[in-house]
C-alpha cells in the first residue's frame, strides 16, 4: 500500500471558514488543478447540494463536470467506478451515508475489489462523499455511522475529518489518491468553523493520526463528531486533575496504529469513542489491536463507547440519547482511570 506522505504545509494565508466550505474549496481547487476531476450526485448542481457543499461549482465548472443525477444511488457509485476505471476522477456525493446500503455492491463489490480481481490492470481513483451521523430528526434511515464497513472490505480507504482544516486537506488527498476513498463528512459539523490554510497544495496525509490533546492518564481515540465531545470531557477531567490524551485517527483505512500504540504504551489505559453502534464498530477493531499489541503493558482493559444497540429514533431529542454525550464520556474516563 503506497501512502501519500506529503507533509501538512499551510501557506501564508489562512481563512476561517466552516467545514462545508472547506470541503467545497477542496473540490474547487482540485477541479481547477486537474480537469479529469468531476462531480455527480443528486442536487449537486443547480441547488449546490442538499447541505450546500457543492455551491457555486456548477457555475464554475459547467454541467459536464458537475452532474445532477436522478435518484439513483446505485448508478451514482457504479458510474463513478466505471469512470474511475477509464481515466477520470469522479467525486460521487450520496445525500446520506445510509445510502451506501443502496450502492453496497458498487462500493464493496466493485470499487473495493476490481483492481485486485483484474491483477492490477485497473485503477479506481474515485471518492465517495457520504454525509454521516446525526443531523437532528432525520430518523433511523438517515442517521447512521457506517464507517466500519469500509474497514471490513479490503480495498477502500476510509476518512472521517473532524475539523474544517482536516476536511479540506483530507479531501484533497482523497482526490489525489489512486485508490477509492469513502469520505465521511459529519452532518453536524458542516456549520462548525475553523482555520483552514488557503494554500492549494495543503494536503493532510492519510494514515497519520492527530493528537488533539496531550495527557498521561489515559488515551482516548475518538472520531468524527466525537472528537470535540471527547475534548470537552477531557477538559472536565483536567479540572479533576487527570490529563487525558485525545487522538483523532482521521483515517481508519489506513489506520495509524503507531501513534495510538505509542500513546497507550505511555498511559497504560485506552478508550475508543465513536458515534457508530458500539457492537462490531471500529472500536472493536482498534481495541482488539491494542490488546493484541500491548496486553502486558496495559493497566486495564480497553473500553469502548458507541451508540446503543438500537436504530436511531426520529425525534431529535431522543436521538442524542443513543450516542455518547460529554457527561457520559467523562464518567467513563473517570471509571477507566480508577480501574
Amino acid at each position: 500500500m503506497t501512502e501519500q506522505r506529503t507533509q501538512e504545509s499551510p501557506g501564508d494565508g489562512v481563512s476561517t471558514i466552516n467545514y462545508a466550505l472547506a470541503i467545497n474549496h477542496a473540490m474547487a481547487e482540485e477541479m481547477r488543478r486537474d480537469s479529469r476531476v468531476w462531480i455527480l450526485g443528486q442536487d449537486v448542481g443547480r441547488m449546490g447540494g442538499v447541505f450546500g457543499v457543492t455551491r457555486g461549482l456548477l457555475d464554475e465548472f459547467g454541467p459536464l463536470r458537475v452532474r445532477d443525477t436522478a435518484i439513483n444511488e446505485t448508478f451514482i457509485v457504479g458510474a463513478a467506478a466505471g469512470a474511475a476505471m477509464t481515466g477520470t476522477i469522479p467525486i460521487a456525493e450520496l445525500q446520506f451515508a445510509d445510502f451506501m446500503l443502496i450502492a453496497g455492491d458498487e462500493i464493496f463489490g466493485k470499487l473495493a475489489k476490481w483492481r485486485y480481481m483484474h491483477g492490477g490492470k485497473l485503477s479506481l481513483p474515485a471518492v465517495v462523499r457520504v454525509p454521516t451521523g446525526l443531523l437532528g430528526g432525520v430518523g433511523a434511515e438517515h442517521s447512521q455511522s457506517l464507517e466500519v464497513l469500509g474497514m471490513h472490505f479490503p480495498g477502500v480507504k476510509v476518512v472521517l475529518p473532524s475539523t474544517p482544516a482536516d476536511a479540506k486537506g483530507l479531501l484533497k488527498s482523497a482526490i489525489r489518491d489512486p485508490n477509492p476513498v469513502l469520505f465521511f463528512e459529519h452532518k453536524g459539523l458542516y456549520r462548525v468553523k475553523g482555520e483552514v490554510p488557503d494554500d492549494p497544495e495543503f494536503l493532510v496525509p492519510f494514515g497519520v493520526a492527530a493528537v488533539r490533546r496531550r495527557g498521561d492518564a489515559l488515551t482516548v481515540i475518538a472520531t468524527g463528531m466525537m472528537v470535540d465531545r471527547t475534548l470537552a470531557a477531557a477538559e472536565v477531567l483536567a479540572r479533576e486533575g487527570h490529563e487525558v490524551e485525545v487522538i483523532d485517527p482521521r483515517t481508519l483505512v489506513p489506520l495509524d496504529m503507531d501513534t495510538i500504540l505509542e500513546s497507550v504504551q505511555r498511559t497504560g489505559r485506552a478508550m475508543i469513542v465513536h458515534e457508530a453502534v458500539r457492537t462490531a464498530g471500529a472500536g472493536a477493531e482498534i481495541a482488539s489491536r491494542i490488546h493484541e499489541e500491548l496486553f502486558f503493558a496495559l493497566d486495564a482493559p480497553v473500553w469502548r463507547l458507541g451508540a446503543s444497540d438500537t436504530p436511531i429514533p426520529q425525534d431529535p431529542e431522543l436521538e442524542q440519547l443513543c450516542i455518547p454525550q460529554v457527561p457520559g464520556i467523562a464518567e467513563a474516563m473517570r471509571g477507566l482511570i480508577a480501574l
Binding site: D43, M47, V138, G139, T310, Q314
Partner: protein, 328 residues
C-alpha cells in the same frame, strides 16, 4: 405474457358526479389542507425539530386515491405530507403526535418531523426513508394479501423522483408477471428536491413507462380528486379481480419547498403567495353546495387547530423508549 394491452388515457370523461362522494372528498381535502396550513404556520413561527415535507396543493391526489381503497387495503405512503394517512382513517391526533414526538403519536413517541406514520389496522404500512423502498415492500404486502386468501389490494404512493430508482424496475417486472394486486400512484409534482422531472425523465410522462412492464399506464389530473378517485377505482377493481397492477400518474405540483424552510433558490416557477393553481378544493366546489363546503372548511380548521393545541400539551415518551421495540 401481458394480460391486457397497455393503454394510456386522459382523465375519464365525467358523466355524473355522486354528490355524497364529492362531499366526502371535499371533507377529506379540507381536513388535509387545514392540517397542512396549521403546521406550516406553527413551523414558521416556532421552528420544528426535524424536517417537514409539506403536501400543500397535492391533497387532491391523496384524498381521491385513498377514497378508492377499502380500509383493509394495504398502503405505502410517500413522504409528502400527511394526507394519505389522514384519508385512510388515522386520527389527526396520532399524526400530529408523531410529528411532535408525543406518546399519542402512532409510533408512540419515537416520531419527530416527517415520520413513519403507521396503522396496520387501517392498512397504513409506512414510507421508506430511502425513497423508492416502497416498491419492493408493497409487492411483498400484495403477495401476503393473496396468500392469506384475501382480496386486498396494495396502493403504493411515490413521487416522480422516486420513479428513477431500480427498485421500481425490479418490482414492476415481477409484479406484472405475477399479476400482483397493486396500484402504483405517482404524484408527479414536477420536482425532486431541486431536480425538474422534465430533465430527469427521457419520456414526457412517467406513465409512458408502463408498456415496458405490460401494465396499463394512466394519466390523471391530480388536482381533480374525483378524476383521481375514478382512475384509482378502476385500477383497484382490476387488481382485485386478479388482473395485475396499474401505473397511475397524477399530474400535480409542489407548491412549497422540498421541506418547510427550503428557500428554493433553484426554482424559477415559484408561485406568488402560495396561490394553488387549480386548487383541488375549488374544483370540488363545483359539486358541493357552497354552504356545505364552507362548513366543512370551518370544521377542518377548527379540528386542526384544536388537535394541534392538544398535541402540543401531550406528554413526550420516557427516554427509555429508545431501547424499546428493537426486537419482537
Amino acid at each position: 405474457m401481458a394480460s391486457s394491452a397497455p393503454r394510456k388515457r386522459a382523465a375519464p370523461v365525467k358523466t355524473e358526479v355522486d354528490a355524497t362522494r364529492a362531499t366526502d372528498l371535499y371533507r377529506t381535502v379540507a381536513r388535509i389542507r387545514a392540517a397542512e396550513l396549521v403546521l406550516q404556520r406553527h413551523i414558521t413561527e416556532h421552528g420544528f425539530g426535524g424536517f417537514w415535507h409539506p403536501g400543500l396543493g397535492q391533497e387532491g391526489v391523496q384524498a381521491g386515491a385513498v377514497a378508492a381503497l377499502r380500509t383493509d387495503d394495504y398502503m405505502f405512503i410517500a413522504h409528502r405530507g400527511l394526507g394519505y394517512a389522514l384519508a385512510k382513517g388515522m386520527s389527526l391526533e396520532s399524526l400530529f403526535g408523531d410529528l411532535f414526538a408525543r406518546t399519542v403519536g402512532s409510533t408512540g413517541g419515537k416520531g419527530g418531523g416527517t415520520v413513519h406514520f403507521v396503522d396496520p389496522e387501517r392498512g397504513v404500512l409506512g414510507q421508506g426513508g430511502a425513497i423508492g423502498s416502497s416498491f419492493v415492500l408493497g409487492a411483498g404486502a400484495a403477495i401476503s394479501g393473496q396468500m392469506l386468501g384475501t382480496d386486498r389490494v396494495c396502493a403504493i404512493f411515490f413521487g416522480d423522483g422516486a420513479s428513477s430508482r431500480g427498485t421500481w424496475h425490479e418490482s414492476a417486472l415481477q409484479a406484472s408477471v405475477w399479476k400482483l394486486p397493486i396500484v402504483w400512484i405517482c404524484e408527479n409534482n414536477g420536482w425532486a428536491v431541486s431536480a425538474r422531472i422534465s430533465e430527469q425523465s427521457p419520456t414526457e410522462n412517467i406513465a409512458d413507462r408502463a408498456s415496458a412492464y405490460g401494465v396499463p399506464g394512466v394519466i390523471v389530473d391530480g388536482q381533480d380528486a374525483i378524476a383521481v378517485f375514478d382512475a384509482v377505482t378502476e385500477a383497484v377493481d382490476r387488481a382485485r379481480a386478479g388482473h395485475g397492477p396499474t401505473l397511475i400518474e397524477a399530474k400535480t405540483m409542489r407548491i412549497r419547498g422540498h421541506y418547510e424552510g427550503d428557500r428554493q433558490k433553484y426554482r424559477d416557477d415559484l408561485l406568488v403567495g402560495d396561490e394553488i393553481p387549480r386548487d383541488p378544493l375549488g374544483i370540488l366546489r363545483e359539486h358541493v353546495p357552497a354552504s356545505v363546503a364552507d362548513q366543512l372548511d370551518d370544521d377542518a380548521r377548527h379540528e386542526a387547530e384544536s388537535v394541534l393545541a392538544t398535541v402540543l400539551e401531550a406528554p413526550r415518551a420516557d427516554p427509555s423508549i429508545i431501547y424499546k421495540d428493537v426486537w419482537s
